[in-house]
């Protein structure tokens, strides 16, 4: 409730933000992950660099794919017609983050920089193969979502680097869904599953599958994808994928006092089936 003392600067541009970051501190966008941690004194940055009002970080543009500014809010993404059209699962996932008040403030960039394992958007970004665009003092780079999330609250970001945007491929020719089993206390994901299915008539040409919540980072599930590809998504194939996904995430499982690893692993299978049904529905 009572954070330690910190300085506050508001950056007018990405360059200004990066210049301020040379003095240390943390970037503040929506503040919905950082500020609670500071109030509990789990984090005590000496400086907050507010990037929440930099116009170039807020835009959502569609040009063959989506470029979503790091400071675009969950609500802006969830309600964007472009996002809904090109990556419905991402709109759905952002619409399931927190409650409306959280979605009005919380941003995609802040969300992925925080890298909470139980958060919703990372699972979709990993499933569809999004890229995270990063700017630092030494220039810009782009990292695939799967390589961006390294572990619990751990990312590929270096000190002083800022996420500027996320590039999301157009998967409008896929059937996609993000399904979440919310933790009754926090409403974070006990398990969250994203699927994107490319159908060729009745046959699944290929499938994207990722799981979050149950894992210390969002995990792309190759075994489940292989079990679905080339099938008609009949019960046997779906059940095989539900089994495979448990192996896919076995190395990365996490649990808590109420929902242990083994339970979450089982639920990943259950919710994969439900996600496939939802994507086809």
């Amino acid at each position: 409730m009572w954070p330690s003392k910190f300085d506050y600067v508001r950056a007018g541009s990405v360059d200004e933000a990066l210049a301020s970051a040379a003095d240390g501190g943390k970037f503040l966008a929506g503040g919905h992950s950082l500020l609670p941690a500071m109030k509990l004194r789990l984090d005590a940055p000496e400086q907050l660099i507010d990037i929440g009002r930099i116009p170039e970080l807020q835009s959502i543009s569609a040009n063959g794919g989506l470029t979503i500014g790091a400071a675009a809010t969950h609500d802006a993404i969830a309600t964007s017609a472009d996002v809904q059209a090109m990556c419905g699962a991402l709109a759905s996932a952002c619409g399931q983050v927190g409650d409306q008040g959280v979605r009005n403030f919380g941003t995609l960039g802040g969300n992925i920089a925080h890298a909470d394992p139980a958060s919703d958007p990372p699972t979709v970004l990993v499933a569809v193969g999004a890229n995270v665009n990063i700017q630092g003092a030494d220039g810009a780079r782009s990292v695939g979502a799967e390589d961006f999330f390294l572990g619990l609250f751990e990312t590929a970001l270096d000190d002083g680097e800022l996420i500027t945007s996320v590039s999301v491929p157009d998967v409008s020719d896929h059937q996609s869904a993000y399904i979440k089993f919310p933790h009754p206390a926090s409403r974070y994901a006990i398990v969250g599953v994203c699927v994107a299915l490319k159908m060729d008539g009745a046959v699944c040409d290929h499938a994207h599958v990722a799981v979050g919540g149950a894992t210390l980072r969002a995990v792309r599930c190759a075994g489940a994808e292989a079990a679905l590809a080339g099938t008609t998504l009949d019960d046997a194939a779906v059940n095989a994928a539900a089994e495979a996904v448990k192996s896919d995430i076995a190395e990365d499982l996490i649990g808590d006092i109420a929902y242990p690893e083994a339970y979450r692993q089982q639920m990943a299978g259950v919710f994969l089936k439900r996600a496939i049904a939802a994507a086809q529905g």
């Binding site: 409730m1 330690s4 009754p184 206390a185 808590d256 109420a258 259950v270």
Partner: protein, 783 residues
């Protein structure tokens, strides 16, 4: 014919200020020159304090002082335990405001920092260096009472603070030995966090010139707080003023007097400036009392045809690191005396062992002892039904006490006031469509779906209570209430009450009682509470007692005023008193309806006193003390219908039917609100709430991220019904309704879930019934 205000669901007058954020809570009160107190709290559940170094903290900007228990010395007496249950070998270990040499739970206060700013106070608190020698900790009450458990207080041998067993054990054993059927279960009544919306807060202002202390604090009972603060500070009680401003809920957690209230008082006396402390939510979860925490070994004896013959238990009740204000009374008097419930059970036995542990202190939490009794009773009735192959509804029907209007003695030693349990029971079953449901359940099962139903019949004792009984059971106070009804010359009413409502809507309800008795418009009646200097003495708002007890005092004060008004009206109209007729706030003379005096006119004339009858004093004000002759016993039947998703273990609460009888309802909307809130809290115990400490006594459910508060989308629309059985001993016949929902709903939903799981072979799951536990139980039963 005018509409009676008694029985009318008028809107709560409290709500506009609460909803718009205009209400003024303790933390909203700003005093110039105030110092902020932060408390250095133990990170260990059990440890010796080796040393405390506050030199760095003291040198920090804005820090005025850092104090430890050594600095306080004998400036503060230990916090008292105020419910000294008799014949129980009760030990009351010292509870110092700051730990002396040893800490006994995570959050136990070690030092206080006083600074000019809340942030600086926290910075300095973090800079106080405390060296601890960690000791083994114990959380589970049964384990704490066992061999080899770490000793928490040197003067509480075996950690056993009391053993309460007032019933005849031999007689109970004889019943069990002779019974056809005995069922048993180990029931875990998990610890719960009361989670009032407003955390606790306290601000003290000592005036050295007048030697008076004013304490604003989050209290359900400011007069009890005054008494205790007077006792621990040594100030005379008439030099202490306790003000409970707006209080944002309590659920029992704002009954006790905590170290924090004593510490701000002491610091203000010491420094001569105001001192304020406002609890964070994290502190609230660590240090404000927890509820429940029983490990119960329960048995029920029955005949093969479903007659319940006896119930007996051994209860290990976790007290936490210290005995909180009312703690010993909760798992004993308010628990064991309820073991008959609404049934004709002739034999009860309860051995309740109060055990010190390294958890936060426990005390009264909504229902306080009675939910723990109702749960075990209802759980065991279902177990009996399953054991003998009888429908659980049939078992209940067979054992319900028949209707009675004026007194029914039960084996647990209570005399119930009135009840018609079968009427409420049948009404609820009718609303639920019980027979149809059993058919649906069968067809759903054929489709692989698991539906379940839980039915709870309950009664409970509330409206605490006759003071003579309070004395007999060791409660260190009375349980009467008092009220002053003061009418101004312009005919506006101030009702000053000693009780201290904090969200229940009593300002509305009590005004309705007065309006109904005296004929003043309800909007002309103010109910004033929460200030020991402004209001007459009272014992506080808890135990569903404010409407029954304060309401009775106000009804009787109203009647006194009305008697005076009748005599004065007759005098003013030069009529015989016998010829005066009263209707809707107006006195008229029989046969000449034109001649009338309104209650307002009479009030004015009483104030002017120009023309008073011989011997009548001026003024229009009456006071009334009311000591109830008995408790009141609301009752009813609750029914839940659930579906369990066997694939995930998730529980869908599909229907909730509650038929409650609290006598005549003064305001049905407020009654419904109390039932809704109570049901939600009780269902949450069954489904999601539960404190978890690790083996070192660290609180793992320290925030709402892990401690699962109920949420609106977990619930269907509640289907409420009522029956109306007045209390025979109460001036307006009402019974309390603040806790019935919590008391009835936990077993209702629990039994519904276990009913759904019965075909899968699941017989028992510890609460809360999280999906992971339900799923795990299904897997275990299948394997």
């Amino acid at each position: 014919m005018t509409t009676r205000i008694f029985g009318s669901g008028i809107k709560r007058r409290e709500d506009p200020r609460l909803i718009t954020g205009e209400a003024r809570y303790t933390d909203d009160i700003k005093l110039p020159g105030v110092l902020h107190m932060a408390v250095v709290r133990s990170p260990y559940a059990h440890a010796n304090i080796v040393s405390i170094d506050s030199s760095v903290a003291e040198a920090m900007d804005g820090v005025v002082a850092v104090y430890t228990s050594e600095d306080i010395g004998d400036g503060l007496a230990g916090l008292p335990t105020a419910w000294l249950i008799p014949d129980s070998d009760l030990k009351t270990p010292e509870h110092p405001a700051l730990a002396k040499g040893k800490v006994r739970y995570v959050g136990d206060g070690v030092a206080i920092v006083l600074a000019d700013d809340r942030y600086r106070a926290q910075d300095a608190a973090d800079a106080v260096l405390v060296e601890y020698e960690e000791l083994p900790a114990v959380i589970d009450p049964e384990e704490a009472a066992g061999e080899g458990a770490p000793l928490i207080h040197d003067d509480v041998e075996g950690n056993i603070a009391f053993t309460w067993a007032p019933f005849d054990e031999d007689a109970s054993n004889a019943v069990f030995d002779a019974a056809d059927v005995v069922v048993s279960e180990r029931i875990l009544q998990q610890r719960l966090l009361p989670t009032a919306m407003e955390t606790r807060a306290a601000m003290a202002q000592y005036n050295p010139a007048t030697q008076e202390l004013t304490l604003w604090c989050t209290s359900q009972n400011p007069h009890i707080h005054r008494f205790i603060i007077s006792a621990v500070t040594g100030l005379n009680e008439n030099k202490v003023r306790v003000i409970a401003p707006e209080v944002g809920g309590g659920f029992g957690s704002k009954i006790p007097c905590y170290p924090d209230e004593a510490l701000v008082s002491w610091a203000s006396i010491k420094l001569g400036v105001p001192v304020k402390w406002t609890e964070t939510r994290s502190e609230n979860y660590l240090i404000t009392i927890h509820g429940r925490d029983h490990v119960q070994h329960v048995e029920m004896a029955a005949s093969n045809d479903g007659k319940i013959l006896g119930v007996r238990s051994t209860v290990y009740a976790g007290m936490g690191g210290y005995l909180s204000t009312a703690a010993p009374g909760i798992p004993t008097i308010l628990h064991g005396l309820l073991y008959v419930g609404p049934y004709t059970i002739d034999s009860v036995y309860c051995k309740s062992i109060g055990v010190m542990t390294n958890g936060a202190p426990t005390d009264a939490y909504r229902g306080a002892g009675r939910p723990e009794a109702t749960f075990l009773l209802e759980r065991m009735v279902d177990n009996v039904a399953r054991e003998i192959g009888m429908d659980p509804v049939e078992v209940r029907r067979k054992n319900l006490i028949p209707a009675f209007e004026n007194g029914y003695d039960v084996a647990a030693g209570l005399t119930y006031d009135s009840g018609d349990y079968p009427a409420a029971f049948e009404k609820a079953l009718g609303m639920a469509g019980y027979g149809d449901f059993r058919r649906q359940q069968k067809s759903a099962k054929a489709e692989g779906r698991y539906l379940g139903i839980g039915v709870t019949a309950y009664t409970e004792m509330c409206g605490l209570g006759p003071s003579q009984v309070a004395g007999a059971v060791g409660f260190q106070g009375g349980l009467w209430e008092s009220a002053t009804l003061r009418v101004t010359p312009t005919g506006k009413v101030q009702a000053l009450i000693g009780a201290s409502p904090h969200g229940q809507g009593s300002e509305t309800t009590l005004a309705q009682i007065i309006a109904d008795e005296l004929g003043f418009p309800v909007d002309d009646i103010e109910v004033i509470h929460g200030d020991t200097t402004e209001t007459p003495m009272g014992w506080g708002t808890y135990g569903s007692r404010t409407t029954p007890v304060t309401g009775a005092a106000l009804a009787q004060a109203s009647r006194k005023l009305k008697d005076k008004a009748r005599v004065l009206a007759a005098h003013l109209m030069e009529a015989n008193e016998e010829d005066i007729e009263y209707a809707d706030g107006s006195f008229s003379v029989k046969g000449s309806p034109d001649q009338a005096q309104s209650i307002q006119e009479v009030a004015l004339m009483a104030h002017l006193a120009w023309n008073m009858p011989e011997g009548m004093d001026p003024g229009f004000e009456e006071s009334q003390f009311y000591d109830p002759p008995n408790f009141v016993y609301p009752f009813g039947t609750h029914i839940a219908i659930v579906e369990v998703d066997a694939e995930t273990g998730e529980i869908d609460l599909q229907r909730y039917i509650a038929v409650d009888d609290c006598g005549p309802q003064i305001n049905p909307e407020i009654v419904a609100g109390q039932i809704h809130g109570g049901v939600v809290q009780g269902v949450a115990q069954a489904l999601c709430e539960g404190v978890v400490y690790d083996e070192n006594g660290q609180l793992l459910t320290g925030s709402m991220m892990d401690y699962c508060m109920p949420k609106a989308d977990m619930f269907p629309n509640f289907e409420l019904g009522e029956t109306v059985t007045p209390s025979p001993h109460h001036p307006v016949g009402v019974k309390g309704v603040g806790e019935t929902g919590t008391i009835a709903s936990t077993p209702t939903v629990y039994n519904a879930v276990l009913d759904a799981l019965a075909p899968l072979g699941v017989k028992q799951i510890d609460m809360p019934l999280t999906s992971a536990k339900v799923w795990g139980a299904i897997q275990d039963a299948r394997s």
